[in-house]
């Protein structure tokens, strides 16, 4: 707030005239000076929800043991697939990804392992079962991807057939 100062010896009528002149010249400015504000602030709040996103690059994988690469005399026959990837984005700490299958009664064996994860640590290769097994460890607060390495195993003595698995990758607390 500013107020005009009055010098000693100034007569009131003269002061009044001066003030009038002043108001005429700068009255508007004076009003503004009374209202003047050079800074302003407000509060901006950022909230980040718990986000857990996991997806596969393709919803289906087909593997077929046809005998290619099988040596005669060898009972064990295998087929591998690394055509798909798992992607995730997790902003919570201490998380891992597990894997399980819905197929309780399997004719053949199906193994899975994470390949070259960009974050976290791949768990050892596991044989899929309905019980969740570790697939990737230490993937908390990260975004990344890895290859999904499947290996199907069949013994010749098991004959022919097919297994249809619904594989579930789940983010869980470590």
């Amino acid at each position: 707030m500013l107020a005009p100062t009055v010098q000693p010896g100034l007569t009131f009528p003269s002061f009044t005239r001066s003030l009038m002149v002043l108001l005429l010249l700068g009255g508007t400015h004076l009003f503004e000076m009374v209202q003047a504000q050079t800074t302003g602030n407000h509060t901006v709040t950022i909230t980040v929800a718990t986000i857990t996103a996991v997806q596969v690059s393709s919803g289906s994988v087909s593997m077929s043991i046809t005998g290619a690469g099988v040596a005669a005399g060898q009972d064990l026959m295998t087929v591998s697939d690394q055509s798909t990837n798992l992607l995730w984005g997790i902003n919570s700490a201490n998380r891992k990804i597990t894997v399980s299958t819905s197929l309780g009664s399997q004719t053949f064996s199906l193994r899975v392992v994470a390949i070259s994860p960009t974050q976290g640590i791949a768990a050892p290769e596991v044989t899929l079962s309905t019980v969740a097994n570790d697939f990737l460890l230490s993937v908390g607060r990260s975004s990344g991807s890895c290859g999904i390495g499947y290996t199907g195993l069949a013994l010749a003595s098991q004959g022919t057939g097919s297994d249809s698995h619904s594989i579930t990758f789940t983010v869980q607390s470590e």
């Binding site: 504000q37 050079t38 800074t39 509060t43 901006v44 709040t45 950022i46 992607l87 902003n91 975004s143």
Partner: protein
């Protein structure tokens, strides 16, 4: 003596008015925004959110001015940026990243002196909040609360 004092006062006010620091004006409108990041893509990062609900009303003065911005946010976890859009006068600076401990940074520069033209103008504040998965979430880290200060001053 009387005439000297009368004209001295007049000159004083005129000078004060011409310097502009006494009656430059800036007002924030639109309240205190909250930006919530809720979505993210696997293999990518959470999706940034934008808020344009707040504005700055400001006025020309007798001199060329600018508006600066700075923030105070203790324990900052996430990223907040601001840029002025649709400024009536002056030139908006590039987007400013608001970080704890930053110096006042130009938001709008070259606000012309008056006259001519209208004295009052405004701009929209475009806030962009972003976070990476690695930066965590509010449940674990708490929210980021920024006190953002805008100042208009002679350039």
């Amino acid at each position: 003596m009387i005439h000297f004092s009368r004209y001295a006062l007049l000159v004083f006010f005129s000078l004060v008015a011409s310097t502009g620091w006494l009656y430059a004006q800036l007002t924030l409108a639109g309240g205190n925004p909250t930006l919530s990041i809720t979505t993210g893509m696997a293999g990518a990062e959470p999706i940034a959110v934008v808020n344009t609900a707040t504005t700055i009303d400001y006025e020309k003065s007798a001199s060329v001015q600018k508006i600066t911005v700075l923030t105070s946010c203790l324990g900052q976890s996430f990223t907040l940026k601001v840029v002025a859009t649709g400024a009536s006068f002056g030139t908006p600076a590039p987007e400013v990243t608001l970080t704890q401990g930053m110096l006042a940074t130009d938001l709008i520069t070259g606000i012309p002196s008056k006259p001519p033209g209208p004295n009052k103008g405004s701009c929209t504040l475009r806030y962009t909040a972003s976070a990476t998965f690695a930066q965590g979430n509010s449940s674990e880290q708490g929210n980021d609360v920024h006190t953002v200060t805008y100042t208009i001053l002679a350039q």
